[in-house]
Symmetry: C2
Subunit: 345 residues, 2 copies
């Protein structure tokens, strides 16, 4: 399959993008072709520097002279910068020249471009980002992690269906457990918004809805999908990342406190390395934007080469398992169910 990479997107582009591309081409044989989308001169120079051979038939540059900055307003900028790497790469997915798009660039712009150019799937009103955090049992997908900050109850029902399809068909979870993020586990906890959403989720067939969950459940419980609006999801995700980073930093500072501890830390360094690998978003790489008519993978703005490499892996896996046809099947089944009237109201 063919993947288009936003080679200019992210805080450390294009160096980490090219680094990630090199690793992905080596590691993922299913990646038949990788398009590096971005400024040709800059990319040629970076490829030469890192030793990526552009005569390789599996890789090519697609020139895109414009770049969308990380803090430019999403939709507006997409409309204005028609020659940006995000716009051009999204057109490639739309035209079928690429099977998937991976970007560590401006998330708002990527979401806007995907919605404008690819359109949402039939029956889907708003796309959502599924961001994975590692827990005791596997991966817990926070959906939505930021595409739709002011979601409505019906959007979260659609997220439940899409998250279930993604966890089942891409991550291989048999009967994905879906929770609704709230300020307590009891059924009656929450806001007007979550209470209405709760009622609809309870009535939705084809999902394994386990009820309200809270922050404490993110790591302990066998949770595969945690539903929330994009405002809450974005805050949770960043808070979790920030905490893991702060705890590691404090521990390192404490370990430097005296020679005995430093010595101990050296002996135990393998454990720290394993922890870093487990807890870092780099390992998970990319978050699918679910609900658009194509495969779009959103990577972290501060992605490393490893994160880009893994985001490309997620793109390959998402295309391979055909998640969009599965979502459409599930939505069609829902639409025909007797509960549809309540849920889709």
């Amino acid at each position: 399959m063919k993947v288009a990479l936003d080679a200019m997107g992210g805080d450390r582009a294009p160096a980490v993008n090219i680094g990630g591309a090199i690793a992905a081409l080596r590691l993922y044989p299913k990646l038949e072709h990788l398009f590096l989308v971005g400024d040709e001169d800059i990319l040629k120079e970076e490829c030469a520097k890192q030793g990526l051979n552009l005569n390789d038939k599996r890789v090519s540059i697609v020139h895109a002279p414009e770049v969308i900055g990380m803090s430019e307003p999403g939709a507006k900028t997409v409309r204005r910068k028609k020659q940006s790497s995000i716009s051009i790469a999204m057109d490639m997915v739309k035209d079928g020249r690429a099977d998937a798009f991976v970007s560590a660039g401006n998330t708002g712009a990527a979401v806007a471009a995907a919605t404008l150019k690819l359109r949402t799937l039939k029956g889907i009103d708003r796309a959502g980002i599924a961001s994975a955090i590692p827990n005791e049992h596997g991966l817990c997908n926070i959906l939505d992690a930021g595409a739709n900050p002011e979601a409505k109850p019906e959007h979260l029902v659609a997220y439940a269906i899409m998250g279930t399809a993604f966890a089942r068909h891409v991550l291989g979870v048999k009967n994905p457990r879906v929770g609704l993020m709230s300020n307590g586990e009891e059924d009656e906890k929450g806001t007007t918004f979550t209470k209405e959403t709760f009622k609809r989720l309870r009535a939705t067939p084809g999902i394994n809805f386990i009820g309200n969950v809270e922050g404490h459940d993110l790591f302990d419980s066998e949770l595969d999908v945690v539903l929330c609006d994009g405002f809450v999801g974005n805050i949770v995700l960043k808070s979790v990342e920030a905490t893991a980073k702060a705890v590691s930093k404090w521990l390192k500072a404490e370990l430097k406190g005296n020679p005995l501890r430093l010595c101990g830390a050296a002996l135990a360094s393998g454990a720290f390395k394993a922890l870093k690998e487990k807890s870092s978003y780099e390992t998970y790489g990319g978050s699918p934007l679910l609900g658009v008519n194509g495969v779009v993978i959103i990577a972290h703005g501060s992605s490393s080469a490893l994160a880009i490499q893994n985001a490309i892996r997620v793109a390959v896996e998402t295309v391979e398992h055909g998640v969009n046809p599965r979502i459409e099947e599930a939505l069609a089944a829902l639409h025909e169910s007797p509960a549809a009237e309540v849920i889709e109201a």
Copy 2:
């Protein structure tokens, strides 16, 4: 000063409550008297078990035959169980028999009892819980951490004023920095609710409003108060706690992986202990419920004796620095300012 302790509140009551009481009586000379509010027979037995001498003039039991369960609905249960430890202790604060109340029991019930019995301060519509998390520079207070899940913009303006008074007068921060929790740092990020709140905060005199902040800022930035509705605050707080716990747990599991690592961990154990102390809510103990006419400190439901001890310390410090008169002064000044019309609309 005199503090009333909910001796029956919390997941591990009354054992940890009595344990915390013993430590607090020993460590805090300003604590003139501690009332243990709860079932007399049970408390007498627990005091005997732990060696708390009830002939000590600084401590006494106040009988409260009823207990409010951790998952009972707050306001409703407070109205029904008039002889609960929460109700009786709150009456003591109302009557001036106690200067402060500390509870690790049902938060919803404590907030409801405080609001019903003590009433809010003049100019305050809704109380908020200020929960501290440790960061690089000191303590970052999340306000509101769960008292008011569906807050309005004017509530967050009041929280800004109250959080500023608390950080300044109790925590000794000269010019507390106040941020608004959002899904990005840019001014234009956020929801309809946060955008309206942002506008009002910008117009509010007497606070040091630094703009939108995000999850990543919790630990890195010099932030003293982070404003959010109680739904978001509760989720953030629990997610941060859960992450710190998960990271420690994973690291321990990794360290047990082989004998060399175990040996290293033993040498570095002081660092782990210091980290636990820094990152645990036990060290911070209790969160003031700001905005009610009295001092009420909310402790974690799963409080240990150390957490109870520290919650009593926070109560002593909050009374000592007279935070409520300072809040009332600040509100009076705001009310007289030209900006009042915009902010209080």
